[in-house]
Structures are given as structure tokens and as C-alpha cells.
């Protein structure tokens, strides 16, 4: 068998969602994993390597969960094509491992019957076998194995039990079992019914129902899915998550930011004044810092998402929110990405991968940046503080607070409206029915959570970082070059490309009440929304806008901007895609520049129209 020594044996894991497939994948490959995208689609490709006790190198690939080889989503299409050996650029798997939740065999048996038709050698892994035993479920392994025509291995992936036997069985199959004829075709309704009947017969003959079935899931559901109580609990869970992002992640993010500022300062003292120092400090170090600063929020959001997914609560959250989100044509699961987007659109966009359906996911990604992220808060606070009087309306409401609330509400409402427009205008025919399994509740496996969390972090740094960093450097180049001439009186930025662009687009922005200082601030403000505050500080030559500087800037704005201009600027920031990092992440998550371009286009259009309407309404009210 010289050829097996050369080419690694390929195992593919196939199974229903919630079968513990990923836990088994982790148990098989440990840390030797890599995550990438399949060519041309946004489906994630997880591959790992292990060396068997006999010294053979085995490649394991974790395919997206499915109930059938008849693909209904891009994820499931990948599973089908991988199993059938049709995937471009991929060699077909030598052995398929069909992963089953031993306590829930009915649907996976039907999938196994489909796999049998494919003709490739496969082994059935009865995972979570400890739970099946605890429930007193009796499975006649020999009989079952005979019926499906494949060896069976019992596993407990979270405790690494049965893994060696599974590998040995797969190796034996790869060596001895010839690849049979593929007679699989898309089953018709009648064939699915027939397969169900067959699975039912096998189940009845070889599996005795549990003596002590799980009753906890029903009991927990009666609380967590209670129409009123369930929504209250969901609100509480979301509140904790939201708090955690601000209370845990923000201080760490601030620390990272401070660390990079310190590093920049340290580098500045050892490099000579000039271009190199500026490139290192203001371009590269600030750029890397601006990528890493998102990590705490991303990790916090994904920590919660992984707990919710692994415990089985995510499906319940989708159930509770389905009707509310469905009113805007969104999937129940869109709730969590959109809530996360209130902290930052970047974890929100990444979190949209909890939505299986392509169109639902894209709609969610497109509206995620409309949610009021924390980077808008400095902008809102500055403008509101400078221009909105601190008066009390209707006896008890603070006018400044009311405006702030209005901005948040405008973000949410416009998001829902845009989602409705997208659904009805473009994807009406593709509206997906909502039906899904509500999995049994389980304790999340800490190792699994930790590993997935690390993967999310690495994906962000490796993939999104590669897009964000050059864009950040570009913004720096625009704001730095060319240098101001000798004896220049105005701020340096005024003479840079950013200044030129600002002056160039100013006529375009004049109808919405923006002066040239604002127009210039928008260019470096593309790096991140809160940068606009610092940029305004630079343009108005205030210098450092932290602390007292901010008050100085606010008083300058108070005297130089009309209320109409201020309101127009606020309206602009509700909609404008002033964040290259978000666009970079959307590029990574949708695998191309099309959707970031669409996002950029529609958000700028909305921003302009909203500012136009706001400015002229305000002028008409005499606030010009």
C-alpha cells in the first residue's frame, strides 16, 4: 500500500445538525485544524489532520450539518457535493463518517440510507452514547450495522471515548472496502416516505426506546418558551450579553488602544522625525491597533453565541423572536447579530453566520451597520452636547436624552424598513419557511467553546485584518500627503489629499448643510466613526480632543454650526457607512466586493437623503 503512504486518507464527517459532529471533529484532530472558505461560496471549510496509531496521516473534513443529501442551502450543497466527490478542487473522501446523536436516531438513519446509495465506504458513529446509556436506550449494534451495511462505533466525543476505534474502523474500510457504484439521486417525496418507513422498521427492530427518557428539556422549555416569561428571560439574557460587551470588552479594548498609543509614542522617540516615523506610528501601529481593538468585542459576542448555540438555547431564541423579526421579513435568528451590532457592526456581521439561509443572512448583514454602534456614541455626544439645549420637555424628559434615543430608534426602524424593502423588492420568491429542530438542552463543552472562540479570533485577525489594515493605511496616506507648504497657517490636513477631497466634495455636501471642515473630517472619519471627532478637532485646530479638548471643540461647534447643520450631521451618522473595517468584514463574510459595494452605495444614498431632509426641515423651522 505505497499509495496510501503518499496521499493522506480522507475522512468526511456528515450528520444531522446538533449531532455533536464538531465535537467529534475536535476530538479527532485536536488543535491541528484550519478554517477557510470553500471556493466561490461563503460556506466555511473546516479541515484537520491526525496521525493514526499505525502511522497513517488522515485528513478529516467537517461538513455542514444536514438532514438529507438533497441540498436546500449553500451549506448543504457543499455537504452533498463533497460526499458525491463533485466539489471542485477537492478529492472525494475515502471514508464517510456518518455522525449520529445516539439518543435521536430516526432522522439520521434516513440520512444513512441515503449515504448507502452513494456507494462510498462509510462508518456510523453513534455519538453521545453515554447519554443514551444513561437513558436506558438499548441499541442492538450488530443488527443495526447489518441493516445499514456499515460498521458502527460508539463514541463520546466530549470525553474522547471511542475515537481510536473509529479511526481504526475507518482505516480498515479505506484499505479493504472498494468504492461501490453511486446510485444516489435526489429522492422524490414518495422515496423520502419510503425511506422513513424503512428507518422506522429498522428502529423498531433494533432499538428499544429509552427507559428513562430526558424530561429536562421539556421542563426547561415550558419556562424558556413561555410566551411571556420566555421573552422576558430572553431579554434578560440579551441584556447580560449587551452589558458584558460594554462592561468586559470595552475596558479591554481601551487597554489595547492605550497600549498601541503607548507603543506608538515609544517608537516615535526612537525614530527620527519624518515620513518613516509617521508611517510607523500613525500608519502601521495605529492601523494594527485599530484592527486588534475589535477583538475583545468579537470574542465577547462569540462567547455568548457559542454558549447559546451549544446549550441549545439559540434555537429557542429564534423561536421566541421569529414573529417579531418575521414582520420585517427577517429570520428569528437575525435577532442576535442585530443586537450585537449595537455594540459594533463587526461582531454583528460575523454573527450573522448563525443564519443558515443565504438571503436571510445577507439581509441581516446589510442592515447590521444601521444599528447604532458604540463608535457613533462619541460623535452623537459631541454634537448633541454642542447644539441641543439641555432643557426638559413635557415636564420630565431631558431633550438631549430624547435626541439620543431618537437616533437609536432611527437606526433600528430604518434597519427594519430596509430589510422589508430588500425582501419585497429583491428576494420575495426566496422567502424561507421557518422550521427547525429544537435540540435537547446540553451543557456546553468548555473545550469546544474555547477552541471555536480562538478560531473566530484568528479568522478575524487573519482574514478581515488583511483587508482592514491596508484600508487604514490608505486613510492615513490620504490624510498625511502631501505635506503643508512652508509657513502654512492652516491645519496640516487642509493641504493633504483628504483636504483636497473634502474641498472637492464640499459643493456636493453644501445642500445638506455641511461646511468644508465637516467635509474634510469625513475623509479620515472613514477609518472609524469616532475618528471624525478627532478629525474635527484637527480641522478646527483644537489639538487633542480628549477631556478639556472636547469641551473646547463643543464650544467652537456651538458658535460655528447652526442647529440645522448639527442635526444634518447626526442624520448623516445614522446612515453613512463611515467605517472601512465593517466594509472589510462584509467583504470577508460574503466572499467578494459586491455586497460591501452595495452596502456602501445604499448607505451613502440614505445618509445623503436623510441629511438633506433633516437640514431643509430644520431650516424651514427657522433653525438654520
Amino acid at each position: 500500500m505505497t499509495d496510501t503512504a503518499l496521499a493522506p486518507t480522507r475522512l468526511a464527517l456528515v450528520g444531522n445538525p446538533n449531532s455533536g459532529k464538531t465535537a467529534l471533529f475536535n476530538a479527532l484532530t485536536g488543535s491541528r485544524q484550519k478554517v477557510a472558505n470553500y471556493a466561490g461560496v461563503t460556506v466555511e471549510r473546516k479541515e484537520g489532520v491526525l496521525t493514526s496509531p499505525s502511522g497513517r496521516v488522515i485528513q478529516v473534513i467537517d461538513l455542514p450539518g444536514t438532514y438529507s443529501l438533497r441540498a436546500r442551502s449553500p451549506d448543504e450543497a457543499v455537504t452533498r457535493d463533497a460526499v458525491l466527490g463533485r466539489l471542485a478542487g477537492e478529492t472525494p473522501p475515502d471514508v464517510i463518517v456518518c455522525v449520529a446523536d445516539a439518543t435521536n436516531l430516526r432522522l439520521v438513519l434516513r440520512l444513512a440510507l441515503e449515504l448507502k446509495q452513494v456507494g462510498r465506504p462509510f462508518v456510523l458513529a453513534l455519538n453521545m452514547f453515554d447519554i443514551a446509556q444513561r437513558q436506558g436506550l438499548r441499541i442492538d449494534l450488530e443488527g443495526l450495522s447489518r441493516e445499514i451495511g456499515a460498521p458502527i462505533v460508539t463514541t463520546v466525543a466530549t470525553r474522547k471515548r471511542g475515537i481510536e476505534e473509529l479511526v481504526a474502523r475507518a482505516e480498515a474500510l479505506a484499505d479493504t472496502m472498494p468504492v461501490g457504484e453511486n446510485v444516489w439521486h435526489e429522492p422524490s417525496a414518495a422515496e423520502i416516505r419510503h425511506a422513513h418507513a424503512e428507518a422506522q422498521r429498522i428502529l423498531k427492530a433494533h432499538v428499544r426506546p429509552p427507559e428513562r427518557p430526558d424530561t429536562w428539556t421539556s421542563r426547561i422549555d415550558s419556562v424558556l418558551l413561555h410566551p411571556v416569561g420566555g421573552l422576558l428571560i430572553l431579554s434578560a439574557v440579551m441584556f447580560i450579553m449587551f452589558q458584558a460587551v460594554f462592561a468586559w470588552a470595552t475596558p479591554v479594548a481601551d487597554l489595547i488602544e492605550a497600549g498601541f498609543t503607548w507603543l506608538g509614542g515609544a517608537v516615535a522617540t526612537v525614530t527620527p522625525e519624518g515620513l518613516l516615523r509617521s508611517l510607523l506610528v500613525d500608519g502601521l501601529i495605529a492601523g494594527v491597533g485599530s484592527v486588534l481593538v475589535f477583538l475583545p468585542q468579537i470574542l465577547t459576542v462569540f462567547f455568548f453565541i457559542l454558549l447559546l448555540e451549544d446549550s441549545g438555547y439559540m434555537a429557542r431564541a429564534a423561536f421566541l423572536m421569529d414573529r417579531i423579526m418575521g414582520a420585517a421579513g427577517l429570520h428569528g435568528r437575525a435577532f442576535i447579530p442585530l443586537l450585537s451590532s449595537h455594540a459594533c457592526a463587526i461582531p454583528g456581521v460575523m454573527a450573522a453566520r448563525v443564519i443558515d439561509q443565504k438571503h436571510d443572512r445577507l439581509t441581516t448583514i446589510l442592515i447590521a451597520p444601521l444599528m447604532t454602534c458604540s463608535a457613533r456614541i462619541p460623535v452623537y455626544t459631541l454634537i448633541i452636547g454642542a447644539l441641543i439645549p439641555r432643557t426638559t420637555v413635557w415636564g420630565f424628559l431631558n431633550l438631549q436624552g430624547l435626541v439620543m434615543f431618537g437616533l437609536y430608534a432611527a437606526g433600528i426602524l430604518s434597519g427594519l424598513v430596509v430589510a422589508t424593502v430588500i425582501r419585497t423588492a429583491f428576494w420575495r420568491s426566496a422567502s424561507e419557511p421557518f422550521m427547525m429542530e429544537l435540540p435537547t438542552y446540553r451543557w456546553p463543552d468548555p473545550e469546544n467553546v474555547a477552541r471555536n472562540l480562538m478560531q473566530r479570533g484568528m479568522i478575524f485577525i487573519n482574514r478581515a485584518g488583511r483587508i482592514i489594515l491596508p484600508l487604514m493605511v490608505l486613510v492615513w496616506v490620504l490624510s498625511t500627503f502631501p505635506y503643508p507648504p512652508e509657513g502654512a497657517t492652516g491645519p496640516a490636513i487642509d493641504y493633504s489629499f483628504a483636504g483636497m477631497i473634502g474641498h472637492f466634495i464640499q459643493p456636493l455636501l453644501a445642500p445638506i448643510g455641511f461646511n468644508w471642515q465637516m467635509s474634510i473630517a469625513l475623509v479620515p472619519g472613514m477609518a472609524a466613526r469616532e475618528v471624525a471627532v478627532a478629525a474635527l478637532g484637527t480641522v478646527y485646530a483644537v489639538g487633542n480632543v480628549d477631556g478639556a479638548g472636547q469641551a473646547t471643540l463643543a464650544s467652537i461647534l456651538h458658535t460655528q454650526w447652526s442647529l440645522a447643520t448639527g442635526l444634518s450631521f447626526l442624520a448623516w451618522y445614522v446612515f453613512a457607512p463611515q467605517c472601512v473595517a465593517t466594509l472589510g468584514v462584509v467583504k470577508r463574510e460574503t466572499n467578494g466586493w459586491l455586497w460591501p459595494a452595495v452596502m456602501f452605495g445604499y448607505m451613502f444614498t440614505l445618509a445623503y437623503l436623510a441629511s438633506l431632509a433633516t437640514y431643509w426641515s430644520a431650516v424651514a423651522l427657522g433653525w438654520g
Binding site: R106, A189, D221, L231, L320, R323
Partner: protein
């Protein structure tokens, strides 16, 4: 009246099998109209043209386990319009909107609160 069907022993019925007795006809209804506590056996899955082509919806329902002979029980309802519903489907739990549940005909257990 007993149907001879219990939770632990589901039977596979022919798709178009007529109800055995007149009493059963009274108890046949759509899952979409069922309330919490209603339980029974799926008598027929026949989808309608909607967001998805009928044949596609039918296959999806079948793939998720909504198949003739499977036992169902409505466990929970959503707050708004009592939608969606969570049902016990044989030995698993499934969430479905009432819209799609209209494709599923149930022969309700008279003891249930149909």
C-alpha cells in the same frame, strides 16, 4: 375511543388511507389550527403552493420528520398570534410556523385538547 396508537409505537399509515371510522373524521384537522396540548398522529402531509413550490415544502417537511404516522403534540405557542408553535414530533422537538403547519393533517387524539 382508542386509535390503537400510542406515543411509543407509531405506525406507518398509507398516505391516502381513509380514516377508519366516522368518529375519526371529526377529529381530523390541520396542525396549523391546533392549540397547546393537542396531540395525535400525522394523517397526511400535502403541501400547498406558497413561498416554496408545493413539492419542495412537502419534501422539507418529510425530511424534518413530518411524515404520515409520526406522533405530534403541540408543546408551546409563540406570543403573537400564537405563532410559531413548538411540537413534539416522535422523539424530537421541532419549531414550525402555523403557515407551514397548514400542510400537515392530524388525526387528533380525542383525549387531547383538540
Amino acid at each position: 375511543m382508542t386509535l390503537g396508537v400510542t406515543m411509543s409505537e407509531p405506525v406507518i399509515l398509507d398516505t391516502l388511507a381513509p380514516p377508519a371510522t366516522e368518529a375519526e373524521i371529526i377529529n381530523v384537522g390541520l396542525l396549523s389550527a391546533a392549540r397547546i396540548g393537542a396531540r395525535g398522529v400525522i394523517a397526511r402531509v400535502s403541501a400547498f403552493e406558497g413561498a416554496l413550490p408545493a413539492a419542495e415544502l412537502e419534501r422539507r417537511l418529510l425530511e424534518l420528520g413530518f411524515v404520515e404516522g409520526a406522533t405530534v403534540e403541540v408543546l408551546e405557542e409563540g406570543l403573537f398570534g400564537r405563532d410559531p408553535i413548538a411540537v413534539r414530533l416522535d422523539d424530537m422537538r421541532v419549531a414550525i410556523r402555523r403557515r407551514e403547519a397548514a400542510a400537515i393533517q392530524i388525526r387528533f387524539d380525542p383525549k387531547g385538547d383538540a
